[in-house]
């Protein structure tokens, strides 16, 4: 589908359906970013499919003028897998949330990542169940108070990146709902990556979990509490871009250039393409307290892609056996003739 002269505008990917998320919901920004990303990609709407499960974020396919499927809770990854394997020419996006993707759909999530099927998963993480009106989710912090945890939760959360690396993921990126430019950047990179791309977006639920990411994402602190990682560039951050990430044994440390003898030469250079996920994992685990939370493409590594491997194996076996019909195959087996 590439290299035809057609160019697309974000509007070409918008459906005529009224968007029903709450005013102020972070999903609006994500939707806009996705429309823009699709225009940037230049893949025709009819060659694009958006598949989701259930939850606030999973309503998204209805707002797309592409092929779309709003399915059942947690199963988006499995349905997207079958879809992509069956019709590999399509570009497939899967939209999910922290409840849909990591609780009820956790099994499908890790297995899709492990198989490395070529789908772009956008994981909108608001650390709450919004559509069911405010229960804690598998990404809510220990002690989080919600309607289903009135005295605070007594369990630890998943950290999505950690789960992706545990499932041997090859692409992980992160953005913040209000940071449209970065969201567009990571979505584009995810779409261009062949294999499962997990794009986590820290998203605000204005009704049930307002400000849950604020300590990191508020304009006031964002420059100091986040770091935008870019391929081949020094890991610098801060309002004045004077802070950096350095190696401290096997750990990472945030330093200020010119202090304690640290210079620009000590600052690490980001390489999302290195095979080992050791450093990627450490970068992804930075949480905005001692170390700034990483946004941007953290890992982007090539690996065999499931749907391509399935198709390639079929071509190989077909060429070797040379059957063109079921009857050919059956006649080549154990048979006898009755006259």
């Amino acid at each position: 589908m590439e290299s035809n002269a057609t160019t697309y505008k974000p509007g070409d990917f918008k459906s005529d359906q009224p968007v029903r998320w709450c005013a102020g919901c972070g999903d609006h920004a994500v939707l806009n970013s996705l429309h823009k990303t699709m225009a940037d990609l230049g893949i025709a709407p009819e060659m694009t499919a958006v598949i989701s499960g259930i939850g606030c974020s999973s309503r998204l396919p209805y707002y797309m003028n592409t092929y779309g499927f709003h399915t059942i809770h947690g199963r988006g990854a499995a349905i997207a897998t079958g879809f992509k394997v069956a019709n590999p020419a399509m570009t497939v996006w899967q939209i999910s949330g922290d409840g849909d993707g990591l609780a009820i759909g956790g099994n499908h999530f890790i297995h899709a990542v492990r198989r490395n099927v070529d789908i772009n998963m956008v994981l909108l993480n608001n650390r709450i169940y919004g559509l069911t009106k405010g229960q804690y989710s598998p990404t809510s912090a220990r002690g989080f108070v919600s309607k289903s945890s009135p005295y605070g939760t007594t369990e630890d959360p998943f950290i999505p990146a950690e789960l992706v690396f545990g499932a041997r993921g090859n692409f992980f990126a992160r953005s913040i709902d209000v940071d449209l430019a970065t969201t567009r950047e990571v979505m584009l990179a995810g779409a261009r990556h062949k294999g499962t791309s997990v794009i986590e977006i820290l998203q605000n639920c204005v009704i049930f979990n307002n400000g849950i990411h604020a300590a990191v994402t508020d304009k006031e602190y964002r420059a100091d509490r986040t770091i935008h990682l870019r391929d081949g560039e020094k890991m610098l951050f801060g309002k004045d871009n004077d802070k950096g990430i350095v190696a401290d044994g096997f750990n990472l440390k945030a330093v200020t250039l010119g202090q304690d003898g640290y210079t620009i030469d000590d600052v690490l250079v980001h390489d999302p393409h290195t095979q080992s996920n050791f450093l990627h994992q450490q970068l992804a685990m930075m949480d905005g307290t001692d170390l700034p939370m990483a946004v941007g493409v953290i890992r982007d590594v090539d690996s065999p892609v499931y749907d391509r491997e399935v198709s390639a194996q079929i071509e190989q076996v077909k060429a070797k056996k040379g059957f063109s019909t079921l009857r050919d195959m059956l006649l080549a087996g154990d048979t006898w003739t009755v006259n």
Partner: protein
């Protein structure tokens, strides 16, 4: 033992049961015997009866596995009981002697009847024959030592030699039933083509077994089995699960759609996944998914993407797939769901057969979610009904549940390979060219009420489906009460109208005098057919209607029922089909014959129970 007087019996059919440890290769011996017989023009029918444990302790009662095969003419079942029982050890004898016909013959491996062998099988005396009260003729053959002797010069170790015992027994059976040992050797060589040493050893051993029978003129009757004229063509032996897989492939060829299977291993359905995984040579995409739900969900994704999509499972898996099947009902996507039924509930009897998932197939989803249900009646009919399930799914844009079972799924029969043009083309209901302008996803074909299928990748037909109720005109989300009521009605009526697109119900063993209709469905056909024939021989005017199309029922069902006075529904559950019929035809009383033992019917018990019902009615 009489060594001089060989008698030859001519029989129209005969049943042999091979039994031994799960690891003894009884199924292989049985399969070779079956194929050789089928090659001679016999009808064949087989039934493996194996434990859930893969390798229970050797020689233990729990580890016994059996394989029964019936050959001859007019064979519709593997036989209630066997004429010849092969028991490779004391445990096998103890577990299987109940399956021997009066006047039958037992062949045992005398070498395995040691003190230890008897103890493992929990015999309390040193005379197992007397302890079991066996009066049948017992042929004591030193199978183990003869096998060892045959392979002395083979250079194989003892363990490898012992693995050939089953083939020695097979050789003996081949002699007993006048099967050409050469055909069996040809099959062995093919089976072990990649292990020439094993092929050689087994060829030696089968000849040794055959010659042993010949030389001792084993003092039992030998049998000559009748063959019957059958339709000319090229035949192969097929297991029900293979036939199911092949039926899907035929439907893919006839519809021009790629075939996708999303599945998860589960007994006794896994052979469908195995077969379709092999059929990458025909372009099949068979994906082993992470769980049952992913199996059906990947298939639904593939269906949305424009493939003929199927998922294969057994009862517990169908339970897990319920919500997703509801999605396919709502999105009105074609989907074939294969349930190879086993004993339930819960894990139940995983390797045994039942028909206890009918209610689950019909009703096991939330909301009003009707779909089509069909059931093959024999191993070879699995091919037809998998084709039919696919055809109905594609033409009517609906999920279809195919209710196979462990008995026909694992059982096998000789099957004529269909000619290229024997099955009809299936025309998928793609969006017609004249409707493209202004098309919406729930526009329907007027006659069938089927919606049209827009394949992703097609310009101009981008649309969104989903589990939420949709406006019948626009396809947008709708919570309008009247619209919902209308959509519920349309989905119901759409399934009902499939009755216009399926064959009429047939009645077997019918006569103008017949006043009793025996009713069955699915895999019990062979037993019920034999029972109906036997009843007619006894002068009872009993006809048989074996249903393959369950929902909807064939259009002439009511008309058929109007011709009889009495109705008896026989099924391997507590009355699920009888309840279903009773609700639809309240004017009739449906008598019931039910069995829930994890085992198929026996012809004799059906005959007895029908007679009981008839005598009460008199």
């Amino acid at each position: 033992m009489d060594n001089t007087n060989q008698r030859v019996k001519t029989l129209d059919k005969v049943a042999v049961r091979f039994s031994g440890d799960s690891g003894d290769g009884m199924q292989l011996a049985g399969n070779i015997f079956t194929n050789v017989s089928a090659g001679l023009g016999n009808s064949v029918s087989t039934f493996p009866d194996y434990p859930a444990e893969i390798r229970a302790p050797q020689g233990s009662l729990g580890g016994v596995s059996g394989f029964q095969v019936s050959i001859g003419i007019g064979v519709h079942t593997p036989g209630d009981k066997c004429d010849v029982l092969v028991a490779m050890n004391p445990a096998a004898l103890k577990q299987n002697v109940k399956f021997l016909k009066p006047g039958g013959v037992i062949i045992i491996d005398a070498d395995s009847f040691t003190e230890e062998g008897l103890r493992k099988a929990r015999f309390t005396t040193d005379d197992p024959i007397a302890e079991l009260g066996i009066t049948a003729q017992v042929l004591e053959v030193p199978v183990t030592s003869m096998t060892r002797a045959a392979l002395t010069d083979s250079g194989m170790d003892n363990k490898a030699i012992l693995k050939c015992r089953n083939i020695f027994a097979l050789g003996l059976i081949c002699w007993l039933f006048d099967r050409p040992v050469e055909s069996a050797i040809a099959m062995i060589r093919k089976k072990f083509a990649k292990k020439p040493a094993i092929a050689e050893a087994n060829s030696t051993v089968i000849s040794a077994g055959y010659d042993y029978g010949h030389n001792i003129h084993a003092g039992v009757s030998t049998y000559k089995i009748e063959t019957e004229p059958i339709k000319p063509g090229v035949y192969t032996d097929v297991k029900g699960n293979e036939a199911t897989a092949w039926g899907l492939i035929m439907a893919a060829e006839k519809s021009g759609l790629p075939l996708f299977l999303g599945s998860y291993p589960i007994t006794p359905a896994t052979d469908i996944l195995h077969e379709l995984a092999k059929r990458k040579d025909l372009g099949v995409k068979a994906c082993q998914m992470e769980d049952e739900i992913a199996g059906v969900c990947s298939a639904i994704g593939a269906s949305f993407a424009g493939n003929l999509a199927a998922t294969s499972t057994s009862g517990p898996g169908l339970a897990l797939k319920g919500e997703a099947i509801g999605l396919a009902v709502m999105a009105e996507l074609p989907l074939v769901v294969i349930d190879v039924q086993r004993g339930g509930p819960s894990t139940g009897l995983p390797t045994k057969t039942e028909q206890t998932d009918l209610a689950q197939a019909l009703y096991g989803r939330n909301g009003e979610s009707p779909l089509a249900v069909v059931a093959p009646v024999s191993p070879t009919d699995c091919f037809n009904m998998a084709f039919e399930a696919s055809r109905i799914a594609i033409r009517h844009m609906t999920p279809v549940i195919l209710l196979s079972d462990a008995f026909i799924g694992n059982g096998s029969s000789a099957w004529r390979i269909p000619e290229a043009d024997e099955y009809p083309a299936i025309d998928p209901r793609f969006v017609p060219a004249d409707l493209r302008e202004g098309w919406t996803p729930y526009m329907r074909d007027e006659a069938s009420l089927s919606r049209y299928w827009a394949i992703p990748g097609t310009p101009g037909l981008m649309h969104r489906l989903g589990g939420l109720e949709k406006n019948m005109q626009t396809g947008a989300i709708s919570t309008d009460p009247a619209n919902h009521a209308k959509m519920v009605e349309i989905r119901r009526e759409k399934i009902a109208r499939i009755a216009d697109d399926i064959p009429m119900q047939e009645v077997k063993c019918d006569s103008p005098e017949a006043d009793t209709l025996l009713i069955g469905w699915g895999g019990t056909y062979g037993h019920l057919y034999d029972a109906a024939e036997e009843l007619n021989r006894q002068g009872k005017k009993v006809a048989l209607a074996q249903f393959r199309y369950i929902n909807p029922l064939p259009a002439n069902t009511g008309e058929i029922f109007s011709r009889y006075k009495r109705f008896i529904v026989a099924e391997l559950n507590t009355g699920q089909f009888a309840d279903y019929l009773q609700a639809r035809f309240p004017q009739y009383e449906f008598h019931r014959i039910n069995k829930v033992e994890g085992q198929p019917f026996m012809v004799e018990e059906v005959v007895d129970k029908v007679n009981q019902i008839l005598s009460k009615a008199q």
